[in-house]
Symmetry: C2
Subunit: 157 residues, 2 copies
Amino acid sequence: MHPTFEHHDHSHCCGDSLTRAEALMAERGARLTPVRRRVLELLLESHRALGAYDVLERLSAEGFGNQPPVAYRALDFLVEQGLAHRIQRLNAFTACMHAGEAHAPAFLICRACDTVAEAPVAPVRAALDTAAAELGFVVERASIEALGLCPNCQGAA
Amino acid sequence: MHPTFEHHDHSHCCGDSLTRAEALMAERGARLTPVRRRVLELLLESHRALGAYDVLERLSAEGFGNQPPVAYRALDFLVEQGLAHRIQRLNAFTACMHAGEAHAPAFLICRACDTVAEAPVAPVRAALDTAAAELGFVVERASIEALGLCPNCQGAA
DNA sequence: TCTTGACGTGTTATGATATTACATACTAGA
DNA sequence: TCTAGTATGTAATATCATAACACGTCAAGA
Ligand SMILES: [Zn+2]
Ligand SMILES: [Zn+2]
Ligand SMILES: [Zn+2]
Ligand SMILES: [Zn+2]
């Protein structure tokens, strides 16, 4: 488990993720082009979710295109490749902290500091599959998003 | 559990829900005005989720206001009162099949027929709380939405 | 009775999020 | 080098959501 909520060397955290992403893309023959790479960096800057238009603003300021598809395409690519996740609740995107592990995580979103963490989902997913199966429903994809307080913000509240 | 996926007497299903809603609103001193009531009826018509603009179109055709706030206000009211739920994934709303029971359900969304059912969430929620607690995170509200195939559509696929 | 304040509704305008369609440019093989 | 597939840029538009204000109703309470 990545220690999103703990104090950690975040520049290593970003660097490692980027390195890992590059390795994965090479392995798969997918191209981590400049825009895509830059968007991933932007998402990695903080353990928060960024809206597509936030990303676009940054890209645009740096000389990339300034129309929505520029951001959406890069974000969609990262999501497809499992390097980022979309947070439905926030209409926003966050870098994946477990790239390459093929997972559909649960997200823990702190309502105070906006930090987004990925929680291990296996038992939750199992419970969901069971509940669904009782109704005859077969779950293909699930989005599980929790809003609450991260350990660092529980004192303040 | 409401038999959303089973064949059922849907006009009773709607009628019962409406009656129940009226009773609840009376109990709470909240007002189920004509617009609000009509929106609830629209949501009850099918076990599907309706977008705010779908609702608005119907309202408008029936002589209510034709601007977005008309729909959003009624929908927000129903959600606050627990008579409807918002489905994040679909940017849409669905009538609650368990009004008054104070619950935050899991939604099962059939990707073939768009039917939305509510599944019992207690074990799922417990698993989520546990997973979150291991990271020191306190869950306040969770949205759990599953995409898959309902029993009726599993044959076709 | 008159006032007043809370609530509900209608409307205008705008903001926020997302996609379609088409043109241009790059890249990897044949 | 040619070419097909992929990536990027841009304009236009679609879809989802809210802010702000005007007006009407109704029920306290002066
Ligand atoms: Zn970090
Ligand atoms: Zn926090
Ligand atoms: Zn029914
Ligand atoms: Zn179905």
